[in-house]
Amino acid sequence: MSKKEYKTFDFELSLPYRLAYGPTWTRFFEGLQEEKIFGTKCHQCNRVLVPARSFCPQCFVDIDDWVQVSNEGTLVTWALISFEFYNQPKKPPYAAGLIKLDGADVSMFHLVDGFDMNDLDKVKETLPIGRRVKAVWSEEKKGHILDIKYFQPI
């Protein structure tokens, strides 16, 4: 590789979007505004899928059997995010986890928070796999996935 430094072209690309939720996700996210977590149940494999969806990814059948699942569940796994990157949605350290809510057959991806994240050993102690957690709601709700502020160990 040459030592000579050639020119670079620096620019920022910015594009606006307006994405449609459609009926199923509209209803799911409106549910969050009311502090309710909805799944839909597949009549073929009998699984309750959370977040709610309009069809089962495994059976490929329409599903429209709405089920409210618990705001509490079990921590399946988690990660402590300690590194920073451009456009990151949250400032590290923070934890993301998979939570299997009571009444659901699949796990929900979300943040795990509500305790000090700065000491790794403390985090590990606080978050054994299988730890019970519950949803903590944001005060201002926008029909957004972050209406659930995070899941907190109970």
Binding site: S2, L19, P57, A79, F85
Partner: protein
């Protein structure tokens, strides 16, 4: 399987920080090398397959036309295939299907990325829907950390053992990279260095993680007739498989990882492999994270469930072990992401044709190459052999 298909030549750039050349020039460097290696010219090519992960990495939304000239695609058909991290493998599959179909006799496959031109983690985050998963994936390390914790818990592997095994795997890969003239990161480290490196996403530390690389890999696929006519030593495609899973990360099980397990099963059947641990001479695993490679060893049946750590600690995957892994240094030392899967294919091809120089595994006759992509949603394989 359809008609036999061979790899008759490969080319790679020196990977790393390649601010010394433009993106088209970087691509052409590997394409020229592949032509030289195979002894054919652009005129001999019937089609080109290209890909990155994703095009937006470099801010140019349709790389196949920006880079078409550099891939000798003028006057030829071109396809662009992009499947996240597994892009490089999908490029190889597309080229393979094309030659196998009889609609082309020689196809040039090119995987390319200039990761250092954009903000790679931010670009990768743009691959997710903004409604839901984007907030939590947190680049790649987060989800791989979750997979690792899930795996270690499920098989009751002590934290220290997992940590030691992953650290040793990092050392093995990095030592291997020292023999690879194309590798990006070439620095000797110790197990202690890895274990003391900064935490990225527990349990993943800096030396468990791949770099951001600029680089290109080019591979030329040919029909049996053409390969024999050209007469250079060819690597023969023995097995090809790919599997997808659900989009939602929480839907699937990433330990009993179906896309990995089923895809290996199909590739082994095609290649007539019944004992991969014994029959394979080497493997080129797509390994951006040490821990994940350990789990893959188990999903692919090289190690028993929960035993990959023992195998690595016992030297099974060493360069002089029973199944050398990533003799190239792997993705861990070189990750131009759209090229990385194709580099696995190229390295496997070089091994079974005896062209791997300082990193040659002696007597290599059967090699497995692998890539994965998505939120651990896709796994793809290509098995190459030295004989038709």
């Amino acid at each position: 399987m359809g008609r036999p298909v061979a790899i008759i030549g490969t080319g790679q750039t020196k990977h790393g920080n390649r601010r010394d050349v433009s993106y088209p020039e970087l691509v052409r460097e590997a394409v020229k090398a592949a032509f030289e290696d195979s002894g054919i010219t652009p005129k001999d090519i019937d089609g080109v397959v290209s890909g990155t992960m994703p095009s937006m990495m470099e801010g140019i939304g349709m790389t196949q036309f920006y880079l078409g000239d550099a891939m000798a695609a003028v006057g030829k058909p071109i396809l662009k295939t992009e499947t996240c991290g597994s892009t490089g493998m999908s490029i190889a599959h597309t080229a393979y299907y094309w030659v196998c179909s009889g609609e082309a006799d020689m196809v040039l496959a090119v995987g390319h990325e200039k990761m250092r031109e954009g903000e790679s983690q931010a670009v990768m985050s743009s691959c997710f829907d903004p409604f839901y998963q984007k907030y939590f994936t947190s680049g790649a390390p987060g989800i791989f950390a979750m997979q690792c914790q899930d795996w270690a818990t499920r098989y009751n592997i002590p934290e220290e053992k997992v940590r030691d095994a992953a650290a040793l795997l990092s050392v093995i890969n990095r030592d291997n990279a020292l023999d690879n003239p194309y590798a990006h990161i070439k620095r000797k480290v110790t197990v202690e260095d890895v274990k003391k490196s900064p935490i990225i996403s527990y349990p993943i530390r800096l030396l468990d993680v791949c770099p951001n690389s600029d680089g290109t890999c080019a591979v030329i696929f040919a029909s049996e007739e053409k390969a024999k006519k050209i007469g250079t030593k060819a690597a023969w495609v023995k097995g090809v498989a790919y599997r997808g899973e659900e989009y939602n990360f929480g839907d699937g099980d990433k330990v009993e990882w179906q896309s990995a397990i089923q895809c290996a099963k199909q590739a082994y059947e095609q290649a007539g492999i019944t004992h991969p641990r014994k029959e394979l001479d080497l493997v080129e695993i797509y390994n951006p994270f040490t821990f994940q490679e350990l789990l893959i060893f188990e999903c692919f049946g090289f190690s028993e469930r929960g035993k990959a750590c023992d195998d690595i600690l016992n030297g099974f995957y060493n360069r002089d072990g029973e199944l050398p892994c990533d003799r190239s240094g792997g993705v861990l030392c070189t990750n131009p992401i759209g090229a990385a899967g194709l580099i696995r294919v190229a390295e496997a091809a070089m091994q079974v044709t005896g062209k791997a120089q300082d990193r040659q595994v002696e007597g290599a006759r059967l090699a497995l190459s692998h890539a994965l992509g998505g939120v651990m949603q896709f796994n793809g394989l290509m098995i190459l052999g030295s004989e038709l």
